[in-house]
């Protein structure tokens, strides 16, 4: 996939076999476009290994990777100067204030002392911790700690951010706030972002692109619009007469298929015509309609189909 504008990350046949014989990445060839990219995979799919390899911390067994035009094996330092990283796990000292911590981390990115202080204040303001920045991190809530982790990644003014499970451990409101922040950083600040997550439904709405990996292999990489274009479906639930409905919808030129439950039918959503056809069909058959809903989780189902196919092939 040669995307345009140039990719921020390009890997070619990237393979990582750990000394114990565990294959974490297996011939991964993929490119990440600028913008916000969701890196989707179950736990153990190779997301963290991929991020560590791209940061130049792990050397690949074979294959190569370019991050912002730098080779991850030979130019790890240049990459790490341009990239911010927010790990999945806790990584904050409890007995330091957020300002001091983010300032120090900015200095560790190569920002001179005075500028690092300014940038720390900026970064904490952007993540919404301006008022509390002199408090010790140990007194923060989980949501605030996640924001500090994000702020330290922003302190070095990165061109690219790696966020590993940024919504981990957050309550629903915290998740929404974190996702808004990611969207803002990606689209308003002009910083490309790779968001690693095992929950596609959660991050799909802030992503421009999706890269799905499974067992260290690429499942699928594409723009989110190309997914949602085909994935918009209408779920129809009737209490009775499901077979008649399926036949009638097919006759009307739609492509219905049975849903997860015996009372459900899924119809690919074309436009208003689809709604009209469904309405006419249900009314014509005099069926008791109990639910009509536009589905948003279809992308996940597409991936799940792919996983099954890959599993049966491999």
């Amino acid at each position: 996939m040669n995307s345009f504008p140039p990719a921020v990350i390009e890997t070619t046949g990237l393979t990582k076999v750990y000394p114990g014989g565990v294959t974490a990445l297996s011939g991964l060839t993929v490119s990440f476009s600028p913008g916000v990219t969701g890196l989707i995979g179950a736990n153990g799919a190779g997301k963290s290994t991929l991020i560590k390899t791209l940061l130049g911390l792990l050397s690949p067994t074979s294959g190569r990777a370019l991050v912002l035009g730098h080779d991850c094996v030979t130019e790890g330092e240049q990459i790490r100067q341009l990239v911010g990283y927010m790990p999945e796990h806790d990584c904050l000292p409890a007995d330091v204030s957020a300002t001091e911590f983010v300032t120090h981390m900015g200095r560790m990115s190569g920002i001179p002392a005075t500028a690092a202080k300014e940038r720390a204040a900026e970064a904490l303001r952007h993540v919404g911790l301006h008022e509390e920045r002199y408090r010790q991190i140990g007194t923060y809530s989980t949501g605030m700690k996640q924001r500090v982790k994000l702020a330290q990644a922003l302190a070095g003014d990165p061109r690219l951010l790696f966020l590993d499970e940024p919504t981990n451990g957050l309550d629903p409101a915290g998740r929404v706030a974190m996702l808004e922040l990611i969207e803002r950083i990606g689209h308003e600040f002009g910083i490309s972002i790779v968001v690693a997550s095992h929950l596609l439904s959660e991050i799909e709405r802030v992503c421009d692109h999706l890269v799905a990996i499974e067992g260290g292999r690429l499942l699928r990489a594409d723009s989110i619009s190309s997914f949602t274009g085909v994935s918009q479906v209408l779920l129809i639930e009737v209490e009775d007469g499901i077979d008649a409905l399926l036949a009638d919808l097919t006759r009307r030129g739609l492509a219905p298929r049975p849903g997860a439950q015996r009372t459900q039918v899924l119809v690919p959503l074309g436009g208003d015509d689809t709604f009209d056809a469904v309405r006419d069909s249900v009314a014509g058959l005099r069926l008791p309609l109990s639910r009509l809903e536009q589905r948003r989780h279809q992308v996940e189902e597409l991936f799940r189909d792919d996983v099954e196919e890959t599993a049966s092939v491999g």
């Binding site: 900026e122 952007h126 919404g128 949501g143 070095g156």
Partner: protein, 311 residues
């Protein structure tokens, strides 16, 4: 109050940083300075400053007593090369046991290392910066009392030649201070880096240094035959023909970093007697073992962080 912490985002736009970016060497320097300060509790709460400064004050007490004594016309009461040997060894032991974990165990405990390693630093840079910082901090602990001893003495002596004499005597002491700083920083940082639990790290450093010190002292004392001494107003001198020092006493000194350093001091020409007998040509062994100890600890420290970088 905590309710207001959610989602307060002021829309002031994002500013790019277009100033200079420092290279690896400057980042290591910044980390070393940060760690040096934290060895004395700077940049931390008031509580963190109590222990290091208390120990520094205790270490300076003999120099203050000396200043008073010298001002009353007495000769200098302490030697620059050994200072007050028992007090110094014990105070330094407590200092490294408490402050080495401050430099390395905290970062392990809070799992902040991946944040360092995702920056331009290389895995070897982190332990290097910590080692430079702690060596510097220990140098302060060693030199400040010596310089206090020197200033307190010089203030009361008369004539340039006496000042010059004092200055000449001070220099070997400063060199011994460097040796102590280099050795104790390597040993204590390596031991502290083995555990992220601060209490365990402190225990490991304290127990290792204390037990080896006691062991070495027992062996040396048990093996040394008492030398008849004749004591006068100017100190004690051995009486009769000088006896060969038993090999057991020489070997005993190899068991502890403190006695190793003392053996090397004697071998290099340090005059003031302490626990370890003058090793003579056996001093080479002391020097080799001491260098091996430092090299081994530094190697272990670097290996520890090479491993940590991959986790």
């Amino acid at each position: 109050m905590s309710v207001s912490t959610e989602s307060v985002i002021h829309d002031l736009g994002y500013k790019r940083y277009d100033g200079p970016r420092l290279g690896r060497a400057a980042i290591v320097r910044a980390l070393a300075w940060h760690s040096f300060r934290s060895a004395f509790g700077f940049g931390r709460s008031f509580k963190a400053k109590i222990v290091p400064f208390l120990i520094l004050i205790v270490l300076c007490l003999p120099a203050i007593v000396n200043a008073v004594a010298v001002s009353q016309g007495q000769p200098r009461i302490l030697h620059y090369d050994t200072y007050q040997p028992g007090l110094r060894a014990f105070a330094m032991l407590v200092f490294v046991a408490i402050q080495a974990p401050e430099l390395v165990s905290r970062d392990l405990r809070s799992r902040v290392l991946p944040l360092y390693f995702s920056r331009p630093l290389r895995p070897v840079d982190y332990p290097l910066a910590k080692y430079i910082a702690f060596t510097g901090a220990l140098l302060v602990m060693m030199w400040v009392p010596l310089i206090a001893l020197y200033l307190g003495t010089v203030a009361s002596v008369h004539g340039g030649s006496q000042v010059w004499h004092e200055t000449q005597a001070l220099f070997p002491g400063l060199l011994i201070g460097i040796m102590w700083a280099v050795v104790l920083a390597a040993v204590s940082l390596f031991l502290a880096s083995l555990s992220g639990r601060r209490a365990f790290a402190t225990g490991a450093v304290a127990i290792f240094l204390l037990l080896t010190w006691i062991l070495a002292n027992i062996i040396v004392t048990a093996e040394t035959r008492p030398v008849p001494m004749k004591c006068g107003p100017s100190g004690c001198v051995p009486v009769g023909p000088s006896q060969p020092i038993p090999i057991g006493a020489k070997i005993g000194g190899l068991f502890s970093p403190f006695t190793l350093m003392d053996g090397v001091r004697r071998w290099l020409g340090g005059l003031t007697p302490d626990v370890v007998p003058k090793p003579g040509s056996f001093g080479v062994v002391y020097a080799i073992v001491l260098l091996a100890l430092v090299a081994g600890c530094l190697f272990g420290l670097v290996a520890r962080y090479r491993k940590a970088a991959l986790q």
